[in-house]
């Protein structure tokens, strides 16, 4: 398994054209490959030191993969691979590229994957595991379907790879998408992009109030994971917490004190995070109508805002910085939905209640509605796309 760097990248097309063995969608060899990868990761103790690797291993467990295969399968139409997919993965997370690659392979495509330019330890470990598996003879065909590339800012290579791929996948940041979009792709080439998003949570105050202590702790533990995963900086990280069925300060205080206690035990933040939060808070004090007072010595800053702003771009905290809004009833969601909103985490209400509002709303807000604890679960459906299906084409045969 080779990582293409510098002008070696320019040899990929040639190399690709030389191999002719082709994968099918849900190819058996792909399924065995991922199963073997899982088994190997399971044996490696070192991965326990890296949350993202542990997460990946857990994700690769056979039970989960079978479910994903089942959900991805199209019962109505025959699906064939697209050809070659150019994955531009986030550069500030070590392993996110894998999930994009996974669906590319399940769909039978050749995958050119741009790796993060930084040498993360977890990335190195993962690549060495991958190498061990892929170098087996039976997986030769898989290795012909993966081209890792690594380069610093370079128009040249992005242009080259964009020039012949059949699909370009750009894993966000608005700025990244805007600048890569200036680089043309072929007329027949597909593109999907994952722009900057904001996520929300809706909690039922009454339901929370009547939980017993054990249930409360269980909920807090799950919600903590949603709130603090990758420093609250993922597009799936809840930024705004909406309360329905009551806004009692005592109940909310109880909720946040429990989150605070739990976070203090589990979460460590760098000094710069404290300064970032402090500065954000001062800025928000000028720009937003905040009704509560903030204790600067707390880990969670929560600002409850009286009037919901039209522009939600600035409602983006990090390192434990949350906005809180009294929605009163779920129907009021209609007034504040915004096309930037991606994931809606819920507790105490049903997904149907949320779905009903979302479906009738004129914005195209909300692509995921998930119970507390599942904000960051990735099941192949993202930003409204079914990744497997997006990476295949239908062959209509009547």
């Amino acid at each position: 398994m080779l990582i293409y760097e510098k002008d070696n990248i320019l040899k990929i097309k040639n190399k690709m054209d030389k191999s002719y063995q082709v994968l099918e969608t849900f190819d058996k060899v792909v399924i065995i490959f991922f199963n073997d990868l899982y088994k190997l990761l399971n044996k490696k103790k070192i991965i326990n030191a890296y949350p993202e690797l542990l997460f990946l291993k857990f994700w690769l467990r056979p039970g989960n993969l079978n479910l994903i295969y089942k959900n991805s399968f199209d019962k109505l139409n025959f699906r064939a691979r697209l050809g070659c997919i150019f994955h531009i993965a986030p550069s500030n997370t070590p392993l996110n590229f894998f999930y994009s690659l996974f669906f590319g392979l399940v769909a039978g495509n050749i995958n050119i994957v741009r790796l993060p330019s930084k040498d993360y330890d977890s990335l190195k470990i993962f690549l060495s595991c991958l190498k061990k598996i892929i170098s087996k003879k039976k997986f030769k065909i898989i290795s012909d379907h993966i081209f890792f590339v690594k380069y610093e800012k370079s128009l040249k290579y992005t242009e080259y790879l964009s020039g012949f791929c059949d699909m370009r996948v750009i894993w966000g940041g608005d700025n990244t998408i805007n600048s890569i979009r200036k680089i043309p792709i072929n007329p027949k080439t597909r593109e999907i992009t994952f722009p900057d998003r904001v996520s929300i949570a809706i909690l039922d105050l009454k339901k929370y109030k009547f939980l017993n202590i054990v249930e409360k702790q269980k909920l807090i533990k799950k919600f903590y994971g949603d709130l603090f995963f990758v420093d609250q900086n993922a597009c799936t990280s809840p930024q705004i917490i909406f309360w329905v069925n009551g806004f009692s300060e005592n109940v909310r205080n109880d909720f946040w004190e429990r989150i605070e206690d739990h976070a203090k035990k589990k979460y460590d933040l760098p000094e710069i995070a404290t300064l970032d939060k402090l500065n954000k808070f001062y800025e928000d004090s000028l720009n937003l109508n905040i009704s509560n007072k903030i204790n600067l010595h707390s880990l969670c800053y929560r600002l409850n805002i009286k009037k919901f702003p039209r522009n939600i771009d600035s409602l983006k905290g990090r390192w434990g910085y949350f906005y809180e809004f009294n929605l009163k009833k779920i129907n009021n969601l209609n007034l504040i939905l915004h096309s930037k909103m991606q994931t809606c985490v819920y507790f105490g209400i049903t997904k149907k209640e949320i779905l009903d509002v979302v479906m009738k709303n004129k914005s195209n807000a909300i692509d995921r509605i998930v119970p507390v604890g599942q904000a960051h679960n990735f099941d192949g459906y993202w930003d409204g796309y079914d990744l497997f299906k997006s990476m295949t084409r239908i062959i209509r045969s009547n």
Binding site: S91, E152, I170, N233, C235, T274, L278, I294, N295
Partner: protein, 350 residues
């Protein structure tokens, strides 16, 4: 400030200081709160504003705010001078001074400086070019420092040319003209470093034994090169005969009430200033423990810079008992707070 004996600014013990310093800060902050609407809004939603006498509980201004907002407590027509930070990153702090504030800065700087350097004026060799100090529109921190420290100077000698190269012959000439006289060499720390390196390369042993090196700021660039204070001093001692080196630490938001390093290499607070160290949760850190540096100064009056939270890390080692004999807190600065690596879904590399 009238109550302060300016010949004894390092002689106030903790108990004596609190009686003068705290009310001055409190009254200045009260004034700013009346005059500055932004400040009022900043502090409005913090739940521990207290009128208690302890300044530890008083809300502070993170220095980044001076980059993002125009923060003044005076009318625009009374603005006499705007000092900008010499930041190269695009974001620049702007400090709005009226005449009084500008005058206070110089007075305080003089009182602090002369306590270390003596009251006479010296020839001053400045590690900069004349040109960068002539542009009147660009009143940045570097120029402000040169002008500020010129109060100790009998005559300024700029020994760099326009391209910031050393004018070696000129330097030799100055040195021979001022033989046996005390001379101050003044420069930003990173420029001093470059200067010494140039001397090292030329292999010229200049006689600088009559010079006092006064330097400060610019530590960030040296920290990036992993150059510590020890390394810095050793290099100077190795390549020059300079005996006295004085490092200063100051923030553009609190120009005037700067901190000089004593003979034992600790920065000292004077009656004009104070320091607190805070941990990650912004609680007060004990002496001896490192944390975020908060600085207090009674100097700012035309802008709300009396209580600021810096982006530097440091440690207080004690109060009133430094072996150099000066009262006040003594501390060291360990450097800028490191930037964190951002995880998340966004791509930063194109």
């Amino acid at each position: 400030m009238k109550n302060i004996n300016k010949n004894k600014i390092f002689d106030y013990s903790k108990n004596q200081k609190v009686k003068i310093f705290t009310p001055l800060i409190v009254s200045k902050m009260k004034f700013h709160l009346q005059k500055n609407n932004n400040l009022k809004l900043f502090f409005k939603k913090i739940n521990q504003i207290t009128q208690k006498k302890s300044l530890e509980n008083y809300p502070f201004m993170p220095v980044r705010l001076f980059k993002k907002f125009k923060l003044t407590s005076i009318n625009d027509k009374d603005i006499y001078k705007i000092i900008t930070s010499s930041g190269t990153s695009g974001d620049v702090s702007r400090i709005y001074l009226n005449k009084k504030n500008a005058k206070d800065q110089i007075e305080v700087l003089y009182n602090i400086g002369s306590s270390f350097l003596g009251k006479q004026r010296y020839p001053m060799i400045i590690l900069d070019s004349k040109k960068t100090n002539q542009n009147k529109n660009d009143f940045n921190a570097r120029r402000a420092a040169v002008i500020g420290f010129s109060i100790f100077s009998k005559k300024n000698y700029f020994i760099f040319d326009e391209d910031q190269n050393l004018k070696l012959e000129y330097l030799k000439k100055i040195l021979s003209e001022n033989k046996n006289k005390k001379i101050i060499i003044f420069g930003f720390t990173d420029i001093v470093w470059n200067f010494i390196q140039t001397l090292e390369k030329t292999k010229l042993k200049l006689n600088l034994s009559n010079c006092i090196l006064l330097h400060g700021g610019g530590w960030k660039k040296l920290a990036d090169k992993k150059i510590t204070n020890d390394k810095f001093i050793n290099k100077i001692k190795k390549n020059t005969s300079i005996k006295k080196i004085i490092n200063y630490y100051g923030m553009i938001e609190q120009t005037g009430s700067i901190f000089f390093e004593c003979e034992h290499r600790y920065f000292h607070t004077s009656i004009y200033s104070d320091i607190l160290i805070r941990d990650k949760m912004l609680n007060i850190q004990k002496f001896g423990k490192e944390g975020i540096i908060q600085l207090l100064s009674i100097v700012p009056s035309s802008y709300p810079g009396n209580i600021i939270l810096t982006e530097d890390m440091g440690t207080i080692f004690g109060e009133d008992d430094c072996i150099c004999g000066r009262k006040g807190k003594y501390f060291r600065v360990s450097g800028r707070i490191p930037n964190a690596e951002l995880r998340g879904c966004s791509n930063v590399n194109l």
